[in-house]
Amino acid sequence: MRAVRNIWAVTKRELGSYFSSPVAYVFIIIFLMLSGFFTFMVGNFFARNEASLASFFLWHPWLYLFLVPAAGMRLWAEERRAGTIELLFTMPITVWQTIVGKFLAAWVFLGLALALTFPMVITVIYLGDPDGGAIFTGYLGSFLVAGVYLAISNMTSAMTRNQVVSFITALVLCLFLVLAGWRPVTDMLVNWAPAQLVAAVAAFSIIPHFDSLQRGVIDSRDLTYYFSVIVFALFTTGVILRSRRAS
């Protein structure tokens, strides 16, 4: 109970911080504009002539590459800059409670930005007769991808005081997750790497797990993938925070 209350206190505080600065609103507006731009301009939403959000979700793993590290880079860097990390870690709260609390706050924030794309749903319902299940799993997949990127950004934010370094490191790591299973990359690897290695690298990829949710399939293996990456990244965050304090 104590743990849940502590996590909730951190989450609430962190969410409050997001919305007390204009950055949050700017972030949401940029997210909505870019997702609209990709869907209608690049994704040819109308030309597809089908009542589905496939062209909308398609771009999310790419869009998040920039937006999520930008949202996550401040998580620990700010805490260090203001010196409040010294307050936080001398209060009766464990390191993992603060990590989870911060992660949840940022994830809820991203979820909120995602929820604000609801006019897309109204549009496809208006235009045709979409598959409700696919829309739901599409949102779920998008939200989980954001969660994975966020956990990674949380980790890189704990590594460095410098927000730019944190942003770039997170971006590169997330890009790896996207590209690892991407055809051009695997094709290139196949030419010189052993098949097991290609398979191992491809197994890290987030895209196959994203695609299957887009098709409306909820597979426990996909969920396991998302949650293990999140748990791993958050766990590593804890290790980093502990070791950085020790020195």
Binding site: E86, T90, R245
Partner: protein
């Protein structure tokens, strides 16, 4: 209440804290003194559990910091150096958050926050964001956070830093009261020596990570060269005569002439010392000399000793210090 045994802290190759032990009982206010870079803040970070020590043990109210950190930390109120606080939060939000992490909810939380706000006089800025606060208010906001949950242990790193003289006075009285009346175990670090007299019941001085003095403020003062020294001012006496007669007294170790004008001489007789303690008969001996010689005198008093003098003596002489050595 606070037990720190043999703390050692290395930062890479740098030894910041070198076998420091501190024991503070309820009702005690320990003044933790030392020049800049002596290791005061680092020691406090070890005691509050922010940094793990390289060696040594910390227990707060019997709870081991390493194995039972949550219980140990819940007994502590901590004011870190420079009073950090979340800049984008309001004072109300910040104190509310601190109260929640301290396990206070509902009415308890409200009462605790109201009480702390009252003590720290934060009413005028209660709904203001922290980044817009003046330094004094910022400091008191962080102070409020530290005392909010009425902790039996208070650790304050330079609690009066950056306050104006009136605020300093208030904060000192507050700390003193919390020690004497509320029976808390308190450690404050400072490099302001008047603070020691104002609030501390015990003093520990560290220099380059090592404890170089531990004792009461009065004990510290008697270490001063001028403690027990007798200052006199006489008229119509030659300087050499005065010096010779004073030095001839068995209680007097040496004599210094402080001022000379219009035939008035002010001199100070430093007492002979036994085990570092000044000879208490010096004043009587000097008075007897004045009477015997029938000298006309305008001034005769015994010096109490000066803290800044001891502080300098202890922290400079024991180890030749290199400035700016990181």
């Amino acid at each position: 209440m606070i037990q720190a045994e043999d703390l050692v802290k290395w930062f890479g190759p740098k030894l910041a804290v070198d076998h420091v032990s501190l024991n503070v009982k309820p009702g005690e206010v320990l003044g933790f003194l030392g020049p800049n870079g002596a290791g005061k803040s680092t020691t406090m970070r070890l005691i509050t559990g922010f940094l793990p020590p390289s060696e040594g043990k910390i227990a707060i109210g019997g709870h081991d910091m390493e194995n039972d950190g949550i219980a140990a930390r819940s007994l502590i109120g901590y004011l870190p150096e420079n009073a950090p606080a979340y800049p984008e939060m309001t004072v109300a939000g910040f104190l509310g958050f601190s109260a929640e992490i301290r396990g206070l909810r509902g009415r308890q939380k409200k009462e605790a926050v109201t009480h702390a706000v009252e003590i720290c006089c934060l009413e005028p800025v209660y709904y203001q964001t922290i980044e817009t606060l003046s330094k004094g208010y910022l400091h008191r906001t962080c102070f409020a956070q530290a005392i909010l949950h009425d902790p039996p242990v208070l650790i304050m790193d330079e609690p009066t830093d950056g306050l104006d003289p009136n605020q300093k006075h208030e904060v000192r009285n507050l700390i003193k009261r919390m020690g004497q009346q509320e029976n808390k175990a308190i450690i404050i670090s400072t490099h302001i020596l008047e603070e020691v007299d104002a609030v501390c019941s015990r003093v520990v001085i560290i220099n380059q990570g090592r404890i170089v003095f531990s004792g009461g403020p009065d004990e510290l003062r008697t270490r001063s060269r001028s403690s027990g020294a007798v200052t006199i001012a006489v008229r119509g006496v030659s300087e050499s005569d005065l010096k010779e007669s004073l030095t001839a007294l068995p209680n007097v170790d040496s004599v210094a002439i402080l001022a000379k004008n219009d035939g008035r001489i002010q001199a100070r007789a430093f007492p002979a010392r036994k085990d570092g303690k000044p000879d208490l008969g010096t004043a009587r001996a000097v008075a007897a000399l004045l009477r015997e010689k029938n000298w006309e005198f305008e001034e005769l008093h015994t010096e109490k000793g000066r803290l800044d003098e001891v502080f300098r003596a202890i922290t400079i002489s024991e180890t030749p210090q290199k400035e700016g050595a990181e």
